[in-house]
């Protein structure tokens, strides 16, 4: 008997008894599920490493949109593996359901966690435009293991029939919401969040300013596509892979000082800071005077304590607001010093719009969003928006820089999900 069955729990949408295994009455209650391509179930069509890589990718695609993650288990006892995958022909792998040969049925999955592929089918890697994409079939069958039934909705990966598609196939909005209905949305605190502004020249040489939104947590990060309400496909990525010369993990704050004459981007961690060269896409190694980075925060930003909780740059006031504990420091970038009346309590500078509704201090991130044209304070799973003039016109009683009641981060920035650390390189 599979011990992990004890970890199953009823899903939120009970179905009538007797429904076949495609229904979604049960969901895994574990955070990390293990999987294995069984040795006796290797396909004769593709190299074993390629089969395993495709399954790695298929599991990763699901973990990118849900709070579960998946780890390949090659060493433990087979009975402890949650999901076993294998290829077979006709009567196969001790399964009571016989495959029919080439054509028609190409795979099936049991809600107990096993997935079988018909090795009489011509399974092909994601790069091929022929045969049946093993990746797409694997993603579909993993969907069944997770508790999703078939649907005929256009664009869903859970359609029962195989539809040939280009190599760039992904889980769409509805598939994501379907699995999140069973397992919930991805939640969790971030280290920092920021928009990165770039200048792009078009073919006529005219420049346009564009911004990209980034979320950082531990040693990885996501690019968030605001127009698509999701992260970039394939994220998260390791920080070291995308940001050269800055610390590999646990960034405290990112600040973009942007005035008519200045365009400087800083990363803060501990008692140090780095300046980043956006054109060369790497951290500066030294400043104009030849002094090397990283530098001490106390040298570059006198009066600012460290380590910080977070910081953001207010372009209108031309101040950097640094946060530590329940205090906020307003730093004048022109005079290079803290304003005389600071530090102040955060609740005084950014008062609560409603009683008992304020993060108070120890923020995770302070984030100015160009998409929303607002400042957000992140703490834990929630955010507080700082009221802007438009909000105050609608609600005249709101205090200046007032902090609105909290909301879940996952309800505004969707599907910012961790993957298992072993999957970060997939």
């Amino acid at each position: 008997p599979k011990r992990f069955l004890q970890t199953l729990r009823p899903g939120p949408d009970p179905q009538p008894k007797g429904s076949p295994q495609g229904g979604g009455t049960w969901a895994f209650a574990k955070k990390t599920l293990t999987w294995r391509l069984v040795v006796e179930g290797y396909s004769s069509q593709l190299p074993v490493d390629e089969q395993r890589y495709i399954f790695h990718l298929a599991f990763r695609m699901w973990s990118e949109v849900m709070p579960l993650d998946f780890r390949e288990d090659l060493a433990g006892p087979a009975a402890a593996v949650d999901i076993k995958l294998g290829f077979g022909r006709g009567r196969h792998l001790g399964c009571p359901r016989v495959f029919d040969g080439s054509g028609q049925e190409f795979a099936h999955a049991w809600r107990l966690g096993d997935i079988h592929f018909d090795d009489d089918e011509h399974f092909t890697p994601p790069t091929s435009d022929r045969g049946i994409s093993l990746l797409k079939v694997a993603v579909h069958e993993i969907g069944h293991v997770l508790g999703l039934p078939h649907t005929y909705r256009t664009g869903s990966v859970m359609q029962p029939n195989y539809l040939p598609q280009g190599p760039a196939f992904e889980l769409d909005w509805s598939d994501r919401k379907a699995v999140q209905k069973l397992y919930g949305s991805c939640e969790g605190a971030f280290d920092t969040a920021f928009d990165w502004v770039r200048r792009e020249d078009n073919h006529r040489g005219a420049g346009a300013l564009r911004f990209s939104t980034y979320f950082f947590r531990n040693s990885w990060y996501w690019l968030y596509e605001n127009r698509n309400n999701r992260t970039r496909y394939g994220d998260p990525i390791r920080i070291v892979a995308g940001w050269k010369g800055i610390p590999a993990q646990n960034i405290d704050a990112v600040v973009h000082v942007w005035t008519w004459r200045r365009d400087e981007r800083y990363f803060f961690k501990g008692n140090q800071y780095w300046r980043y060269d956006s054109d060369k896409d790497q951290a500066h190694t030294e400043d104009e005077q030849g002094k090397s980075y990283p530098k001490l925060i106390s040298d570059g930003f006198p009066g600012i304590p460290s380590p910080l909780d977070t910081a953001f740059y207010d372009r209108r006031k031309q101040l950097i607001y640094f946060f530590k504990g329940s205090l906020v420091f307003a730093f004048d970038v022109h005079r290079n010093r803290v304003l005389g009346s600071y530090p102040k309590k955060m609740v005084d500078v950014f008062p609560a719009a409603e009683p008992q509704s304020h993060p108070v201090g120890h923020l995770d991130a302070a984030y100015y969003s160009y998409a929303h044209r607002s400042v957000f304070f992140f703490k834990g799973r929630r955010y507080w928006k700082v009221a802007r003039e438009e909000d105050r016109r609608r609600r005249p009683g709101l205090p200046a820089d007032g902090v609105l009641p909290p909301r879940p981060i996952s309800g505004t920035w969707f599907d910012v999900c961790d993957v298992h650390t072993s999957a970060l390189s997939v």
Partner: protein
Amino acid sequence: ETLFHSRDRSDLAPWPLRRAAPIADLLAAQRFLSKYGWAEAPAGAGARAPHAAPPPARPAGATLAETLRKFQKVNALPASGKLDAATLAAMNRPRCGVPDTRPLRQATSAAPQTRPTPLGRRPRAR
């Protein structure tokens, strides 16, 4: 071990490519419909483990026509209730072996609306 079932291990030898028997007649179509959950389970089936469940009865007569209409509808075929060439072709398409539990769930159901990518483009490769 490499799994085998025959005494003489002949099932280990590479098989000539087997093709699935085409669904070409009424009996095969009935089997298809019951196999993939389009037919009602027999009375008293209760809750069983999937691999122990007896196959549902094959639909016939008026029930068959109604079942075919449902199948045709979700597969964007004319809902004639008759086993025509287009319906047989749909049954012969490559598919997952898991039964279709909710055959009436269509694209316009209560499922959340898909948010389109800009200009209806396909997703960019990751």
